[in-house]
């Protein structure tokens, strides 16, 4: 009798840790608890996978998310059952909206107790179902290794997204042979990657015939690592390009063809060019309502090409003329090859007129603000930060006015440098995300631009930063208001500032010190640059910079919800004639 091939028999918890190692996972963000104690015991015995102990499970998901956005690798989270997993839901939903690959492992009560309302039991699969790309409950240790493989495969392929794997405690104690598959096939899941050649040909025809072309590129370009392909094609054509909030860095912001971000707080020129273009090339962008404004008034004259890996994104909000389903990198490569071979060239005369029109819009200088103010203008802080970091920092943000100013005034020339919660708009994202980025890139400058309201939502992670020596820099634009809420209340609720002001704000300098870090309070414009330099010079210290900024400053331009792209509120800094023009 021949011996069956001898494979090692391992406990589920050992299988779990071995599978992570075999998957190439180096970092796991997590928090222990009863249901995952077998796993934590195995983590203790090895050092291939480094575990980062966060202070709240929401922080773990945001940190893993920041890590994933900056590196392109999946972010991995490990939490216990019950409140451990419910605390991850905001982070999972954040990643889901922005298509970020996360694999979240949650402990579960033993299989025999599932459904019994056991201690720390919650239906993790049910709770997370609407905000994951997919989730799995592992009922048998024999399925554990292959399920982990599937989870990473689903999270990383196609349109990426978070995947949750729920593992009952008894599964981590049971024993079976360990076999981690090299690759995995799912008959029900086969994302398209190559674009249809006929559709790409049609797109090339439309693009070359354009008189007033516009390229609109989103986060999909960054997820697909297609920034080089995008840049090559855009520069070959000489067409204007705008990026979405999620797409910033996909095309170098300091290049002359870049007309700024578009959408609700996009530049005047980007929104006007969108409104008046005759051919719109949408690449890895999803026509989100913050981009389109009123759909009835969106790009009224444009034929639209849309390249996206997710068929469901195409013609969801705006009907398109030439849909191309495929990986942006592959499709842009094919499209550029076609354009190179084509004898036809873009219409130079029409393009010159179009650029002249755009230059006229640019003259408005829509991001102008009072640079001579004594009171610190928040825009000034971001602009100075861009200068002193040479435009090369990783910048995370929370959500609100500071996020928009960061997007408008920090010019990102490289992809994966701008890390923010675009889709879900999650306050509390910035600090843990910066922590995740810093872990991946210890030698790089990582700055979290935040506000005093967002900052306190995940502030507990300052402890984690100390424990793992992650000296991020925090730029807090402190206007003592929930700034964006205040702005909407000023514009649309006659200045009734309902619950957007906080009466008791902590002393952030002392707070930073209490966590073992450095705190700075900056109250005058003249001190902004020197303080930033001083903080950045403290390479091995986390510095929290509390900038006391102008309380009344608003984010401009602004398209009110439901208005058309060409209906922008402009800053009072613009002359009245200019404001009427808009």
């Amino acid at each position: 009798m021949t011996e069956p091939s001898q494979k090692e028999k391992l406990r589920g918890a050992e299988i779990f840790v071995r599978a992570l190692k075999d998957e190439g996972v180096e970092h796991v963000f997590g928090y222990p608890g009863g249901a995952v104690l077998h796993i934590y015991d195995e983590l203790f015995k090895q050092d291939a996978v480094e575990h980062i102990l966060v202070r709240h499970e929401q922080g773990a998901t945001h940190a893993a998310d920041g890590y994933a956005r900056a590196t392109g690798k999946p972010g991995v989270v490990l939490v216990t059952s019950g409140p451990g997993v419910t605390n991850t839901v905001t982070g999972i939903a954040t990643a889901y909206m922005d298509s970020i690959p996360l694999v979240v492992f949650s402990g579960q009560v033993p299989t025999a107790l599932i459904g019994n309302d056991a201690f720390q039991e919650v239906d993790a699969i049910g709770i997370t179902r609407p905000c994951v790309k997919h989730n799995f409950l592992v009922r048998d240790v024999k399925d554990l290794a292959s399920t982990i493989k599937k989870a990473f495969h689903v999270a990383m392929s196609g349109r990426p997204g978070p995947v949750l794997v729920d593992i009952p405690k008894d599964v981590t104690a049971d024993v079976c042979e360990y076999d981690y598959p090299e690759s995995i096939e799912l008959r029900s899941y086969k994302p398209v990657t190559r674009g249809h050649p006929g559709q790409i040909r049609k797109a090339a025809d439309l693009i070359l015939a354009a008189k007033k072309p516009m390229i609109y590129a989103g986060g999909g370009v960054i997820l697909s690592n297609a920034h080089q392909e995008l840049t090559e094609m855009t520069q070959r054509l000489g067409y204007p390009i705008t990026n979405t909030l999620m797409g910033l860095g996909a095309y170098p912001a300091t290049d002359k063809q870049f007309v700024g971000m578009l959408g609700m707080h996009g530049t005047y020129e980007a929104n006007m060019a969108m409104h008046h273009c005759d051919v719109l090339v949408a690449i890895g962008a999803r026509f989100d309502d913050r981009v389109t404004g009123d759909l009835e008034k969106f790009c009224p004259e444009a034929k639209i090409v849309h390249i996206d890996i997710d068929p469901a994104s195409i013609s969801k909000n705006v009907p398109v003329d030439v849909p191309i389903v495929g990986d942006v990198k592959s499709v842009l490569g094919d499209l550029t090859e076609l354009l190179k071979e084509d004898a036809r060239q873009p219409d130079a005369a029409a393009l010159a007129d179009w650029w002249q029109q755009i230059a006229d819009w640019q003259k408005l200088d829509c991001l102008r603000y009072n640079r001579n103010s004594d009171i610190i203008k928040p825009q000034y802080v971001v602009e100075k930060l861009w200068e002193v970091t040479g435009g090369d920092a990783y910048v995370t943000s929370d959500v609100g006015q500071h996020q928009m100013w960061a997007a408008q005034y920090y010019k990102f020339d490289k992809p994966r440098r701008w890390i923010n919660s675009g889709g879900l708009g999650t306050m509390g994202f910035g600090v843990p995300a910066a922590m995740g980025v810093k872990l991946a890139f210890r030698d790089e400058e990582v700055v979290c631009i935040s506000g005093e309201a967002s900052l306190v939502m995940c502030l507990q992670e300052l402890s984690t930063c100390l424990q793992y020596d992650l000296p991020i820099k925090i730029v807090s634009l402190n206007n003592r208001y929930m700034g964006m809420v205040r702005q909407w209340q000023e514009f649309f609720y006659a200045g009734r500032y309902s619950h957007s002001y906080m009466d008791a704000i902590p002393d952030f300098v002392k707070l930073a010190e209490a966590y073992g870090h450095v705190g700075m309070r900056i109250e005058k414009s003249v001190d902004v640059e020197t303080s930033l330099k001083e903080a950045l010079a403290m390479k091995d210290r986390l510095v929290l910079m509390d900038f006391i900024t102008d309380q009344t400053e608003n984010v401009y331009p602004m398209i009110a919800a439901g208005k058309g792209q060409n209906e922008m509120h402009l800053s009072p800094e613009q002359s009245s004639t200019d404001r009427e023009l808009a």
Binding site: P130, H134, L186
Partner: protein, 163 residues
């Protein structure tokens, strides 16, 4: 417009709730939904009746296709197809009505599958409008209970949905 979608999906715990959850999360409408394993026990077949404009139907089909457990989606209403529904009805059957109900069941080619002194239990299959017509023909006050399976559908001719 009314559409009949036919789905093949992994016969796994939770697959049904992924489909039904998608419909509620995206505010799509479900008229009926039936699901059971096929000849291959690892695959379930679902028939789902829904409706909406062309754009909404395109989104529904794309979103269903996106679910990792879904192997295939076909809109049966795009081509010739057959739809059937099973209905079980319990009615009063006393006195003169006993004969009348029996005649009605014969006309609709139904079957009486259980009888008591006071009641009939009737089995009827057919497209939804035939079942509706039968219900309308009965005196509403006589109906004790109605159980409908929801629509099952299949394409006409040689066309078959497989993996």
């Amino acid at each position: 417009m009314r559409h009949i979608l036919s789905l093949l999906l992994e016969n796994e715990a939770g697959a049904l709730s992924r489909v039904s959850g998608l419909f509620s999360a995206r505010a799509f409408n479900i008229e009926s939904l039936t699901v059971a394993p096929t000849e291959d026990p690892s695959i379930s077949r679902m028939t789902l009746v829904t409706g909406g404009s062309e754009e909404v139907m395109e989104q529904i089909i794309k979103q269903i296709n996106k679910l990792v457990d879904v192997i295939k989606v076909v809109d049966l209403s795009e081509a010739r197809h057959i739809e059937r529904e099973l209905m079980l009805i319990k009615t009063q059957a006393k006195g003169a009505a006993r004969e009348e109900v029996k005649r009605l069941v014969d006309i609709f080619r139904g079957r009486i599958i259980d009888v008591t002194e006071n009641s009939y239990t009737i089995e009827l299959t057919g497209p939804g409008d035939k079942l509706n017509a039968f219900l309308e023909a009965l005196d509403r006050r006589m109906i004790l209970e109605v159980v409908r399976s929801g629509v099952s559908g299949i394409a006409r001719g040689d066309r078959a949905i497989g993996i």
